[in-house]
């Protein structure tokens, strides 16, 4: 049963709260934690809200975006620098939920949710993590895979804004709006002299955590970027994924359509047309 809800207003207060309740559950926007609490039988006795730590600022410096972990996902859409993410943002839940769900919280959404985390893996984002004593940074890719240690929270997410036209995104879902992922594809495909250079392709909906499609990346790097090469490379995604069956789609279906959506994401033009 819930005994205490703490809303610290500074990192110092947060650290104090952590010392008092080392096993506290953290909450940012509440869209993941509160459904569990409302269900009952949750075992949470102390809930620490991160909403008043002032970790909701969004800033840009020298082409790098730095986003407070508690910034609501809806806020990202207000910045012209992040316009490249607007298709991805609009594919996540509903506007009402996006007013609540946070950038940092999305890293801990269970698949097949967490499409922003998939984007952040593709963007090679880094997070700042603090605990009661210290501070460290880690790649988002590692955090989504391994999670955090007890008592740690993500405070900032930062990434280099990709060159215009290099960010790609597609999401397959049962409905056009407000539905979980069957396959989510986010990618950054830089070209150098007409050849793909160090691309990053991240997938959601096709494994227990957001993953990189490393086999596909390998086949694309150094190659010209065209439909034939992308289609051939996308077929290799079967080696990277470990799809699951849920209410939205079967593992069989996810495996069959993953390459299709990789092609759609990569070959779609900037206006989002296939």
């Amino acid at each position: 049963m819930l005994q205490t809800v703490v809303t610290p207003t500074s990192l110092g207060d947060l650290r104090k709260a952590l010392k008092q309740a080392p096993t506290a559950t953290f909450m940012a926007g509440g869209t993941l934690v509160m459904p569990m609490i409302n269900e009952g039988a949750h075992g949470v006795s102390t809930l620490v809200s991160l909403s008043k730590l002032g970790l909701d600022s969004i800033s840009f410096k020298k082409g790098v975006a730095t986003i407070g972990a508690v910034a609501p996902i809806a806020e990202l859409a207000r910045h012209s620098e992040l316009k490249f993410l607007s298709v991805a943002i609009e594919s996540i839940a509903s506007p009402t939920l996006r007013n609540m769900a946070t950038v940092g919280g999305n890293l801990f959404a269970e698949q097949p949710y967490g499409d922003l985390a998939v984007c952040l893996v593709a963007l090679d984002a880094t997070v700042t993590i603090v605990n009661a004593k210290s501070k460290r940074s880690a790649p988002v890719e590692e955090v989504v895979k391994k999670g955090l240690k007890a008592g740690e929270i993500v405070t900032l997410v930062s990434f280099t804004i990709p060159k215009a036209g290099t960010f790609k995104y597609a999401k397959a879902s049962r409905r056009v709006l407000n539905s979980a992922s069957i396959v989510t594809v986010a990618a950054v495909i830089p070209l150098a002299k007409g050849l793909v250079a160090d691309c990053r392709i991240a997938l959601g909906g096709v494994a227990a955590k957001p993953i990189r499609a490393k086999s596909v990346e390998k086949l694309l790097n150094g190659k010209p970027f065209n439909g034939k090469i992308v289609t051939a490379a996308a077929a290799a995604a079967a080696k990277d994924i470990e799809p699951f069956t849920d209410a939205y789609a079967s593992a069989w279906y996810r495996e069959r359509v993953a390459p299709v959506h990789i092609c759609r994401a990569l070959l779609r033009d900037a206006a989002g047309k296939a």
């Binding site: 049963m1 819930l2 005994q3 205490t4 809800v5 703490v6 809303t7 909450m27 926007g29 509440g30 869209t31 509160m34 459904p35 609490i37 409302n38 269900e39 809930l47 809200s49 909403s51 008043k52 809806a74 609009e90 839940a93 509903s94 506007p95 009402t96 939920l97 007013n99 609540m100 709006l177 407000n178």
Partner: protein, 163 residues
Amino acid sequence: MKGSVVSITLNGVERETLVAPGTTLLNLLREHQSLTGTRRGCDQGTCGSCTVLVDGKAKLACLIPVETIDGSRVETVENLAVNNDLHPLQQAFVEGFATQCGFCTSGMIMAAKGLLSVNPKPSRAQVIQAISGNVCRCTGYESIIDAILAAAARMGRPIKKSA
């Protein structure tokens, strides 16, 4: 288990309430303030029937422990009608038969109000997007979308003083 006092400006009036830990905004509205216009549907954030405005933004009251919004402004459907005059959104829902069983209606109206406050002239697609988190099992949504667009058009016109 220690309760705490939270202060919320509720429909324009500051209210201090002593709440048990983790009391949701939905419980505060319905159980402490007798504002039952805000509906409890799923308690999971998936149906949208508890949508209210918190500091002007549409949010789900069932997912908010009130300790986390101490000092905020909350607006519920009860604040829309002025004396006996329905808000244009409410009027459009009545006229357009956009409400059948009525369970989703207050959530739909508050989600629409959140949209119109930042985008007074939304496109049909923007209205559909705005209510994409609100489930209605009666209407098939079209009459709701039409009503929101009708209300937006009405609110865009200069206000006529009634005699």
